[in-house]
């Protein structure tokens, strides 16, 4: 019977070769067939068009205020920092978990890997989504205006209490593990920034 290997005699080399070849060609065919199906999961032209970069005009933002634009369905903050806000960032160096943005979960672009996490010190641009579980934090809040932030200035995520400074760096001992993501962006002029594209990759 088929279950007893020795009952069929010694293995037939030619037959085995034919089976292996046919099996290999069949497997190659199956892989080829899978390609269109698997790639249909990828973002379509429409999704890619909807995810296109967004231009923003900085001239309408007064100092100390923040605007939010949508890019790829996410809120992106543009905060025009005052000199006091920039001071507050420097003061927070010791209290944040990753002061130099070395963690790689949301890699900080090379042009934002500095003390203020931005290209221009005055404008802070970040994706307004908490790195814990995805809520959008409230802010910017001044120092001593909020019980959770206390003497720090920054953002507070209402869902589980994570706090971030005015450069988007997460404070220590909070549920959120990472600093706020800085999206790829570049300045098209002194007053226009393109969010979503930075000329690399």
């Amino acid at each position: 019977m088929s279950s007893n290997p020795t009952a069929n005699g010694p293995a037939d080399g030619e037959r085995r070769a034919a089976l292996v070849t046919a099996g290999a060609v069949g497997a190659a065919g199956a892989c080829a067939l899978a390609v269109p199906f698997v790639s249909s999961f990828a973002p379509s032209e429409r999704a890619r068009a909807a995810g296109a970069p967004v231009e923003f005009d900085l001239s309408g933002v007064p100092p100390g205020e923040m605007r939010t634009v949508e890019w790829r369905g996410k809120p992106v903050w543009i905060l025009r920092r005052t000199p006091e806000m920039i001071e507050a960032v420097k003061r927070a160096d010791g209290a944040v978990a990753d002061p130099n943005s070395q963690r790689t979960a949301y890699p900080t672009p090379q042009y934002a890997r500095n003390a203020l996490r931005s290209i221009k010190p005055e404008f802070f641009i970040a994706v307004g989504i908490c790195s814990h579980l995805g809520c959008s934090p409230v802010g910017p809040l001044a120092a001593n205006t909020n019980a959770v932030l206390g003497a720090d200035a920054g953002f507070l995520c209402p869902c589980h209490g994570s706090t971030f400074d005015l450069a988007g760096r997460v404070f220590r001992a909070k549920p959120a593990p990472d600093n706020l993501e800085v999206p790829p962006h570049k300045y098209l002029s002194e007053t226009t920034v393109l969010i979503g594209e930075d000329g690399t990759a």
Binding site: M1, S2, S3, N4, A22, V35, P36, F37, S39, S40, F41, A42, S44, E45, R46
Partner: protein
């Protein structure tokens, strides 16, 4: 409790100890299912039908990831799939080509049964499951066709749902019930989507499983129409049987390769098939206010559509008198009460059919009935065929001639079903309809006539 004793080693042995069904069913249906050694090319179509079913399910799943079953978005979502989803055009064309190929394969599969008497005792139940699969397939194709929400989708659905409205008394309410609205609308689209995507496919899969289990219980027929289980060796294996695996699995893979070449040739180079697989009219979005100049169902429904269109008042004379004639024939055939019952039923029917009768129902209604009967009559085949031998090979030549004539009538009705109504069609469709029904309804008599050859003891097999 002691584990099942296994002859297998390793992982397979471990599984076999806990689920002996796996290997016992594998043996029962594959490696120890003895199929006749004389299968010819006509025996590939069952396996091909399963393949096309799998293709439709997989491509269908991926289509539902992007399709929107809403009258506002449906048409556009199909264009989105075609133009913007990576690989979307390929998946869509596979699905539309698969639908047409499904019917080609199934019609050829059924033709094999007609040639070799595969529907005869003890295989009547396999045939019945098969006819149910055919009905489900037609419903599935019809509902799937509404989904692109093109002009033909909309108006085809309108016409077919209105067939139900032709039923006396309950018709109009039934049509509203089916549509979910007073006209074909978003409600209809959404429910047809649910039925097409999950309800009917589940039923289809169940029926296919039943079809194959019933087949395996009895054993396959073969081109000679003889029972291979009549001659067994000392181990109980049919002398003329060979294990399905590996002989027919390998054999089928070869033919599957050729089939896939043909299938993908169409998908890549001729997906619209000249307007027969994807109709030109359906590239226009549905417009409830304007019916296209030329309505036709998809090619695989056209023979039945011809039958529907054939039934007009003049034809009702032929049908009514035909029914009476058949009743008289049955009166002289049956014995006892049955003869009176059949004659009586025929006369009652005629009262509702003959044009001058006060109780005559509209030809519109009888057209629907005739179309339904043209499909349903296949169910009766095991009881209509009274030939002493199963396979056409051992029947008088002219029996096969009649079968080919039936095929010709089927094709001619199909051709004329695609064309707009014409003077030629006004003769051809009714004549074709009569011949179509005569093939079946007179079969109890003609299948017994002529000189039959004796089928052989052992199958005719020529090794190559």
């Amino acid at each position: 409790m002691a584990l099942h004793e296994t002859e297998y080693k390793g992982l397979l042995g471990w599984v076999d100890q806990r689920m002996p069904t796996l290997m016992s069913e594998y043996k029962k249906h594959l490696s120890e299912y003895y199929a006749p050694k004389n299968f010819n090319v006509w025996y590939i179509f069952g396996g091909l039908a399963i393949t096309v079913l799998a293709i439709q399910i997989v491509t269908g799943i991926f289509l539902t990831m992007h399709y929107k079953p809403d009258a506002r978005y449906a048409f556009e979502s199909v264009e989105y799939i075609m133009r913007e989803v990576p690989g979307g055009w390929f998946i869509r064309y596979m699905h539309s080509t698969g639908a047409s190929f499904f019917f080609i394969v199934v019609y050829l599969h059924m033709f094999r049964a007609l040639m070799y008497g595969s529907y005869r005792k003890p295989r009547e139940l396999i045939w019945i499951f098969g006819c149910l699969i055919f009905l489900c397939l037609m419903a599935e194709a019809f509902m799937g066709y509404l989904l692109p929400w093109g002009q033909m989708s909309y108006w085809g659905a309108q016409v077919i749902v209105n067939l139900f409205a032709a039923i006396p008394l309950i018709g109009p309410d039934l049509a509203v019930f089916i549509r979910g609205d007073y006209v074909v609308s978003d409600a209809t689209l959404n429910r047809f989507f649910a039925l097409h995507v999950i309800a009917i496919p589940l039923v289809l899969i169940g029926l296919v499983v039943a079809h194959i289990l019933a087949l395996h219980d009895v054993g396959s027929n073969n081109p000679d129409g003889i029972e291979i289980k009549d001659k067994k060796d000392e181990k109980g294996r049919p002398l003329d049987g060979i294990p399905f695996h590996p002989y027919y699995t390998v054999h089928d893979i070869f033919w599957l390769g050729l089939f896939l070449i043909a299938f993908f040739s169409v998908v890549f180079f001729l997906p619209e098939a000249g307007g027969y697989f994807l109709e030109w009219t359906n590239f226009n979005p549905a417009n409830p206010l304007s019916t296209p100049a030329h309505i036709a169902p998809v090619w695989y429904f056209t023979p039945y559509y011809s039958v529907l269109r054939a039934v007009t008042t003049p034809f009702m004379w032929a049908l009514g008198l035909g029914v009476i004639g058949y009743g008289i024939l049955l009166y002289f055939t049956f014995r006892g009460t049955l003869r009176f019952v059949s004659l009586g039923a025929a006369l009652v029917l005629a009262v509702f059919m003959l044009p001058l009768s006060p109780l005559a129902l509209d030809p519109k209604f009888w057209g629907v009935v005739a179309m339904g009967a043209a499909v349903m009559i296949f169910f009766g085949l095991p009881w209509l065929d009274h030939s002493p031998v199963r396979s056409m090979r051992y029947r008088p030549q002219w029996h096969f001639g009649l079968l080919m004539a039936f095929v010709l009538v089927f094709l001619v009705l199909g051709y004329f079903g695609l064309q707009p109504p014409s003077a030629a069609n006004e003769i051809i469709a009714p004549v074709g309809t009569l011949l179509y029904f005569a093939f079946f309804l007179l079969m109890p008599w003609w299948s017994r006539m002529g000189e039959f050859k004796t089928p052989p003891d052992r199958v005719t097999f020529h090794p190559h």
